[in-house]
């Protein structure tokens, strides 16, 4: 063991001991001492305080965990899951087409291209949006003299097939290429957002491929009257099946003039040739 080998060993031992000792002190402080001392105030025994400090139990050491006795009172009961979302992508369009001929085209027109403005156009609409509205009609989260009965007459697979079928129409334009807006105020509403009124840009959710909420409907090419009426229903709170009131909060901040202009803007959205506005 010449001098250098002894020196090497000394370095190895010294560094290992220091690193492990520091690690031990850090763990001791963080996992035992701090939680135990903090836990005393909330009347917690050290074991519970340790469990909270490690993350096995909810809560932080020094404070008792608040309790809630609220009871769920949801409006829309649609909960997304990978099972539903994959089913919508692989829905049976032919079965959907047959079913649509039988129950939907009377009002919504051939392939969902309704001409009567009180019935929304369905062709090219997002599959998730169609699925959610049909399920909301089924559960009563959304009510309509005719649609409630029609929806309740469908089972889960029929709803998925219809959504998949209409989603693959191509009359709606993909909003991936927003049209330039001359009116600065409208451009703020649609593309830039109006922070002083707390209104996010419409295209933050309704634009194409923007990672917004799953059930966001495509608006391009929809009847302006239908869009206008839905915005008014949201503003008055009569329509309440938007999760956590997103659309109710926004619609109630729009002036009637803006509602009309927005509805006209999105209806005027001409389909982009050759681009299949497939549902996402």
């Amino acid at each position: 063991m010449d001098a250098q080998a002894r020196n090497n060993r000394r370095w190895i031992v010294a560094s290992s001991v220091t690193v492990l000792a520091l690690l031990g002190i850090g763990a001791l402080l963080g996992l035992l001492i701090v939680p135990a001392v903090q836990g005393r105030e909330a009347g917690l025994d050290p074991w519970t305080a340790f469990c909270r400090a490690v993350g096995v139990k909810p809560g932080v050491a020094p404070v008792a965990q608040p309790i809630s006795d609220a009871v769920a009172a949801p409006v829309s009961e649609v909960a997304w899951s990978s099972e539903v979302l994959t089913a919508l992508v692989h829905g049976d369009r032919n079965a959907g087409q047959a079913l649509a001929k039988e129950r939907c085209t009377a009002c919504h027109g051939e392939r969902g291209l309704s001409t009567d403005t009180q019935y929304p156009r369905l062709s090219g609409q997002s599959a998730a949006a169609l699925y959610k509205q049909l399920r909301d009609y089924q559960t009563g989260a959304r009510a309509h003299p005719m649609m409630t009965a029609v929806a309740q007459g469908l089972d889960e697979t029929q709803v998925r097939n219809l959504a998949a079928y209409f989603a693959h129409g191509n009359s709606f334009a993909s909003l991936g290429h927003p049209q330039p807006l001359q009116d600065y105020e409208m451009d703020r509403l649609v593309n830039r957002g109006v922070p002083d009124r707390g209104i996010p840009p419409c295209n933050a959710c309704h634009g194409g491929g923007v990672g917004g909420p799953i059930e966001t409907p495509t608006l391009g090419g929809q009847h302006r009257e239908y869009l206008q009426r839905q915005l008014q229903l949201y503003a008055s709170g009569e329509r309440r099946n938007d999760v956590f009131g997103r659309m109710r909060n926004i619609a109630s901040r729009l002036t009637p003039g803006e509602i009309k202009e927005l509805a006209a803007y999105y209806e005027g959205w001409q389909p982009v040739e050759g681009e299949l506005a497939a549902g996402r």
Partner: protein
């Protein structure tokens, strides 16, 4: 300096090309955030730009510069050709292809998920494939560096590895350790999600795996600057390195204490409990020690140089230093910014104190100062130092180089000081458009304009830098430049302890530290599966 010359130049130019583009985007973003109307100012353009700025500065400028500089160090310090040059070119072309693929995804608007790409927001799969290619390329570089040192040690048994190479290999080891986190996240969670194979993702686990990488990656960027402090600044100042041993110890401390500390990026996250946050805050403060050692060791080295040039008294050596040399000037300016950047870091890591500044402009100011300032300024100085050796020509004069370094430092300080103040005022991050009609936010307007002025100066400096380097390629080859030399220690080092000449012990200690620091947090997330979130796809 021949076999690796063209490979190093190729890596440097990809780095500085990305840097130039990102600098322009950075200034547009400052303009867009200010009360003045910027052109093309929409949220989608803004977040596209922030993603491109982040990816270019954090992944392209850094990784390619480090690879290029590694080749220069390996060739010059070890005085033997870099092993596997063919592999070096494969790595380069693979990484460059990755950059192009990722940029295409970003600039087509399909990848506005920022450079941290936190799920469940999901970009087009090409964005992630591009990043994977860059990381894979850098892994090849790491192997080359390890092989180079191993070959040298076999050829020179018992000799201390030159400090510059020891530090470069420490950086490669650190990079191999830290990319495990983001590679696992990309491979097992993000890419399957982006391919559409799954519709949900465990967000907590993904953020934990990314935090594994998120801190040590900033030390991966930082170590080349410290290599310049230790081995190039004393040489440029005409002095000697005060302590070679302390240099090795600092790089070892960076290696072991920059890895088990990633949770300080998740202090405000609900997926981890206070215990492990405190442990990693405790370990984070230990990573300040090597920097505090370096500040003294390099000041002492500069003092030796200053006194050798006749500096007298306590601080006479400061005036006596050759400030006209870019490397010396850069070291001084870099240390000045390190005080502010490091100080900001000390606040961020102090456990509960992070709540005061998390996701505010204070954090933006911190990483612009410490990476954009301290580190990137040394990237400039290193480039100025090695460009003559790479191109065979001398700079006509140091004046434009010094000017560029001053503009960068002043621009960075002017941009980041208001940010610190605004961060404490509550200005939050990544905002495409502030509501300047809100009285609380209106007060920020003038300060954002001051930051914009700093940004414009930074852009001028960035463009000046690229022109400075290009000018060397155009100049007629005059007198051959002197060969690149690294600083010698004040007292010749004949042998060093084995642990300061290799990494086997440190790899073992890192393994133990990572198991202790991340074992439970990741294990707990894997065992007690948190409910998954639905994927939100951006882009086509």
């Amino acid at each position: 300096m021949n076999s690796a010359r063209r490979l190093a130049l190729a890596n440097f130019w990809v780095a500085f090309a990305a840097f130039g583009i990102a600098a322009v985007l950075g200034v547009w973003q400052m303009w867009a955030r200010s009360p003045w109307q910027a052109p093309l100012h929409t949220p989608s353009n803004y977040f596209l730009s922030v993603t491109a700025h982040g990816v270019s500065m954090a992944y392209v400028l850094s990784t390619f510069f480090i690879m290029g500089f590694g080749y220069v160090v390996a060739e010059t310090a070890l005085k033997r050709p870099v092993p596997g040059i063919r592999w070096g070119w494969i790595a380069f072309w693979m990484a460059t292809a990755g950059v192009l693929i990722a940029d295409l995804a970003i600039f087509s608007g399909n990848a506005s998920v920022l450079y941290t790409f936190y799920p469940p927001m999901t970009a087009s799969v090409w964005f992630y494939i591009g990043l994977v290619l860059v990381v894979a390329g850098s892994w090849i570089w790491c192997v080359q560096m390890l092989v180079a040192m191993a070959q040298w040690k076999r050829a020179n048994p018992g000799q201390p590895v030159p400090l510059a190479m020891f530090a470069t290999v420490a950086n490669a080891v650190l990079w191999l350790w830290t990319t495990v986190g983001v590679a696992a996240e990309l491979l097992f969670q993000i890419i399957p999600m982006a391919l559409g194979l799954v519709e949900t993702i465990d967000v907590g686990l993904s953020r934990t795996l990314f935090s594994w990488t998120l801190h040590a990656i900033v030390y991966f960027w930082l170590i080349p600057a410290y290599i310049a402090f230790y081995t190039m600044a004393p040489q440029a100042a005409g002095g000697r390195l005060f302590s070679d041993t302390m240099g090795r110890l600092s790089f070892v401390l960076f290696l072991i204490y920059s890895l088990p500390v990633g949770l300080h990026h998740l202090f405000m996250d609900p997926e981890h409990a206070a215990g492990f946050k405190f442990l990693q805050s405790f370990l984070t403060i230990l990573v300040t020690v090597p920097t505090l050692l370096t500040v003294f060791t390099i000041s002492a080295s500069m003092e030796i140089a200053g006194r050798m040039r006749g500096g007298k008294g306590w601080f006479g050596w400061i005036r006596a230093l050759p400030w006209e040399r870019p490397m010396v000037l850069a070291t001084g300016l870099s240390f000045f910014m390190l005080w502010f950047g490091g100080g900001g870091g000390l606040i961020n890591m102090s456990y509960g104190m992070n709540a005061m500044v998390h996701n505010t402009s204070w954090v933006t100011a911190h990483f612009h100062l410490i990476y954009g300032g301290t580190v990137v300024l040394m990237y400039f100085a290193i480039a100025y130092e090695v460009w003559p050796a790479l191109t065979g020509r001398r700079f006509a004069s140091n004046k434009p180089l010094r000017q560029q370094l001053w503009w960068w430092t002043i621009g960075m300080m002017v941009m980041t000081l208001p940010w610190h103040y605004l961060g404490l005022e509550g200005q939050w991050r990544r905002v495409a458009q502030f509501d300047y009609s809100d009285p609380h936010i209106a007060e920020w307007g003038p300060w954002v304009l001051v930051s914009l002025a700093g940004g414009v100066l930074l852009l001028l400096s960035a463009l000046r830098f690229i022109v400075n380097l290009l000018s060397l390629h155009w100049r007629a080859p005059g007198e051959a430049p002197p060969p690149l030399e690294f600083a010698r220690p004040a007292h010749e080092v004949t042998q060093v302890p084995a642990v300061l000449n290799g990494f086997s012990l440190w790899n073992l200690l890192v393994l133990i530290l990572m198991a202790a620091a991340y074992g439970f947090p990741i294990g707990h997330a894997l065992v007690e599966r948190a409910p998954a979130a639905i994927v939100h796809r951006m882009g086509g």
